[in-house]
């Protein structure tokens, strides 16, 4: 993955975010990581609304998305993203504690690119993040232009 690709991590649990960040680094992923604490924050960023940080045009992003988040949950974010003709090019990876078949199915139906569960067993967790790192290292991430279909 190109160095310029920015990793967007939407995760309400700071501990999880930190563990993910640590293990991505251990897997050799040194890209910039932006953290969002709920679904609304990431939507504001992507759709360039609200007071917070907005995304830059002509930039490549990968979105790591937790499902259970305050305000707007991950599935709603995924739906909004995949319904947008421009944003839908962005790879979205669900990273969540649940392996509920219904949520896995729903995520895939909405068009997520990968689905990773966060195992309690830390060795497995580390392994999962390492594989995520490997995925990110090889994936071609398209540049997203400034306009979104919703605006």
């Amino acid at each position: 993955m190109h160095q310029d690709v920015v990793i967007l991590l939407a995760e309400d649990d700071a501990g999880h975010a930190n563990l993910i960040r640590k293990n991505l680094a251990r897997a050799g992923i040194v890209n910039e990581i932006l953290l969002f604490r709920d679904g609304q924050e990431i939507l504001d960023f992507l759709f360039q609304q609200g007071d917070g940080l907005h995304r830059e045009p002509e930039c490549a992003y990968v979105l790591l998305l937790d499902i259970r988040m305050p305000k707007v949950d991950g599935l709603q974010v995924l739906e909004r993203v995949k319904n947008d003709p421009e944003l839908r090019k962005m790879p979205v990876l669900m990273i969540t504690t649940t392996d509920d078949p219904r949520e896995v199915e729903r995520s895939h139906a909405l068009g997520c690119n990968n689905y990773i569960t966060k195992p309690i067993d830390y060795d497995k967790f580390v392994n999962a993040i390492r594989q995520l790192g490997m995925f990110l290292a090889v994936v071609q991430v398209p540049v997203i232009n400034g306009k979104t279909g919703e605006e």
């Binding site: 649990d13 501990g15 999880h16 563990l19 640590k22 259970r68 504690t97 649940t98 509920d100 078949p101 966060k118 195992p119 309690i120 067993d121 830390y122 060795d123 967790f125």
Partner: protein, 630 residues
């Protein structure tokens, strides 16, 4: 005419000697047979009627002794009587049946002495006598009819006197005919009905009357009667013919029906289908709706129907009742006098030719309320259930998130401790400090981290179990016939290595089919086999038997092991959530049997267990058989 001709042919002098010609002509014309015998019984005169009656011509008879011409009559009553008059000179008359052909007839004979001998006048009376006999017989017949009639018959004078009665009257009221004849009609009427319409003195009836009354028997008991009176003229006399029928049986049936009609808790009515009004209603109408009978009768019943039900009620009346079709379980609401409404379920049977319909309605208000309540409770229960599953789901998910951190950071902490130790190894610390640090770094911290991690993973296992349990209660079931031999083979195949590892003997007999959801039933038997395997006794060769039979409408499958068994006191607990008899035995979160029971509950199945400590356990699962519940 033939007589005249006859007389002319034979000549006056020839048929009757010594009679004036005028007299002879008259005698020849009369319809009686007439002949004269002299003292020697020789016929001297023989008229035309005699010729016809006795079938001899005067020419053959005249001058001959009578009994030579009619030898059949010798020594008969005729000879006796003739000789008697001949001797005594006293006229006589007799009537007799003569039985010798061709003279078989009744004869009425008058014999007079005359100058020459005797004169005989006779008539053949057979026809008249037969007519009389017929008349007699017919009178007898009517007498029999009168006597044998099943109804009591009274012939009454207009002043109320009883003139005649038949046997049925005596049977019915207990008086003899003679006793009746000294009584009046009023004597027979019960005082309580005397004077009622129709029970007035019978002479007052203009033409006749038909009414029900109450008569008193001789023994004082009362008897309901139906009276049919008619006026008749007999020989210038006005009489009343009164036919009285005992209607005790009919009255009893009517009373019983009336009793049922009055007692019924259902609303029974007769309604006019053309005017859509009530003709008759039972007291249940008053009980249920609060209106008096008077308030209902003659009123259009649509006046009482809930506005929203009027259209359907009208349609039912027009399309069904008026065309002669019965109505079953028609529901509508009737307004009570108090203003409320009751749900009524109607069954109605019309008789269009009479323009009425007979209806029974049941008040199903409470039933409807109970139904609604049941639906409400079911909905509530379903909501609660969904909510509970949601709680379990959310809880298990949200509780796992912190666990990721606990496990993750304890491991990170372990890495940190390793780093710390490496740093400490590189820098030389004071011996006291190193001595003090060693147990902390090598024992205390690793021990603490160990407990944190194992507890986290145990909690994770419990949460995963909860999640599985919450999932087992949802999802559509696909109920289909199951080949249990095939299903058990699949269950065993998926766990085969566990059996081989343990050196376990597995005996499976032929299993009957059942109906269920393949995935769920598979789960049931996987859990049961897993338990059987887990709780085998390590001191002996493990044997697990699977067998099945059909008991009535159920297929029963038994999984029997020779394992450690379950103490009687624990049998109730094994199905409890998170209950584990022996946590040291292998993995598991104590949900296997809870899930089994829950699945069987959804599939209409059941499970029971028998066990003896030290001998083994036997779990029997029952499911609907394949043959039933199509």
């Amino acid at each position: 005419m033939s007589i005249r001709k006859n007389s002319a042919d034979k000549g006056m002098e020839k048929w009757c000697e010594g009679v004036e010609v005028d007299t002879a002509i008259i005698l020849d014309y009369i319809s009686d047979g007439f002949f004269v015998l002299d003292k020697e019984m020789v016929v001297t005169c023989f008229n035309g009627a005699a010729e016809r009656y006795l079938q001899k011509s005067a020419a053959d008879v005249l001058g001959q002794p009578l009994f030579d011409v009619f030898p059949e009559a010798r020594n008969s009553i005729f000879e006796t009587k003739y000789r008697e008059v001949m001797e005594t000179r006293h006229p006589t008359a007799f009537e007799t049946w003569f039985d010798t052909p061709p003279y078989r007839n009744w004869y009425e004979v008058r014999v007079f002495p005359c100058r020459k001998g005797i004169t005989v006048c006779f008539q053949v009376t057979t026809e008249r006598r037969e007519a009389e006999a017929a008349l007699y017989e017919s009178e007898e017949w009517f007498r029999i009819l009168f006597e044998e009639a099943p109804d009591a018959i009274f012939i009454e004078a207009l002043d109320d006197r009883i003139l005649d009665t038949n046997a049925a009257a005596s049977r019915m009221l207990g008086y003899s005919r003679e006793e009746f004849r000294s009584m009046t009609v009023a004597d027979l009427q019960a005082p309580e009905v005397r004077g009622e319409e129709g029970n007035i003195l019978r002479k007052e009836l203009a033409q006749g009357a038909f009414f029900e009354g109450l008569d008193i028997r001789k023994d004082g008991t009362r008897i309901p009667v139906e009276v049919n009176n008619s006026r008749m003229h007999v020989r210038n006399q006005e009489l009343v013919l009164s036919i009285v029928r005992d209607i005790s049986d009919r009255k009893q049936v009517e009373e019983e029906l009336t009793q049922i009609f009055r007692m019924s808790l259902d609303l029974i009515s007769i309604a006019d289908i053309n005017t859509a009004t009530f003709k008759r209603v039972n007291p249940a109408f008053t009980t249920v709706l609060g209106y008096s009978e008077e308030e209902l009768l003659g009123r259009p019943f649509l006046d009482f129907v809930h506005p929203d039900d009027i259209e359907a009620t009208t349609r039912s009346l027009e399309e069904k009742l008026k065309t002669g079709s019965s109505v079953f379980h028609f529901l509508n609401r009737y307004r009570q006098k108090s203003g409320g409404y009751r749900w009524l379920s109607w069954v109605s049977h019309p008789l269009p030719e009479k323009g009425v319909t007979y209806s029974i309605a049941r008040d199903v208000t409470e039933q409807k309320r109970a139904q609604r309540e049941l639906v409400r409770l079911n909905t509530e229960l379903a909501e609660k259930n969904t909510e509970l599953e949601q709680v379990v789901y959310v809880a298990s998910h949200d509780l796992r998130s912190p666990l990721v951190n606990i496990a993750g950071y304890s491991k990170e902490l372990a890495y940190a401790v390793e780093d710390l130790r490496r740093v400490l190894d590189q820098v030389s610390a004071a011996p006291e400090a190193e001595k003090a640090l060693a147990p902390i770094l090598d024992e205390d911290i690793p021990e603490a981290l160990h407990f944190i991690r194992t507890s986290a993973s145990k909690m994770d296992a419990l949460l995963m179990g909860l999640l599985r349990l919450s999932r087992s209660g949802r999802g559509a079931l696909k109920i289909e016939p199951l080949d249990m031999n095939e299903l058990i083979t699949r269950v065993i195949d998926s766990t085969d290595f566990q059996f081989r590892e343990g050196g376990i003997t597995l005996n499976v007999s032929d299993l009957p089919p059942c109906r269920g959801d393949a995935v769920q039933v598979n789960q049931v038997f996987s859990n049961l086999l897993d338990n059987a395997r887990k709780y085998l006794d390590p001191r002996r060769q493990g044997i697990i038997r699977i067998s099945g039979t059909i008991e009535g409408e159920r297929s029963v499958y038994c999984i029997e092991d020779n394992g450690v068994g379950i103490a009687p006191g624990h049998l109730d607990k094994i199905f409890e959530i998170f209950h584990r008899l022996d946590p040291s035995r292998g993995s598991g979160e104590g949900l296997g049997l809870t899930i089994v029971r829950r699945i069987l509950g959804r599939l209409g199945g059941d499970i029971r267990v028998e066990s003896e400590i030290g001998t083994g356990s036997r779990f029997c699962v029952s499911l609907p058989t394949g043959e039933t519940e199509k």
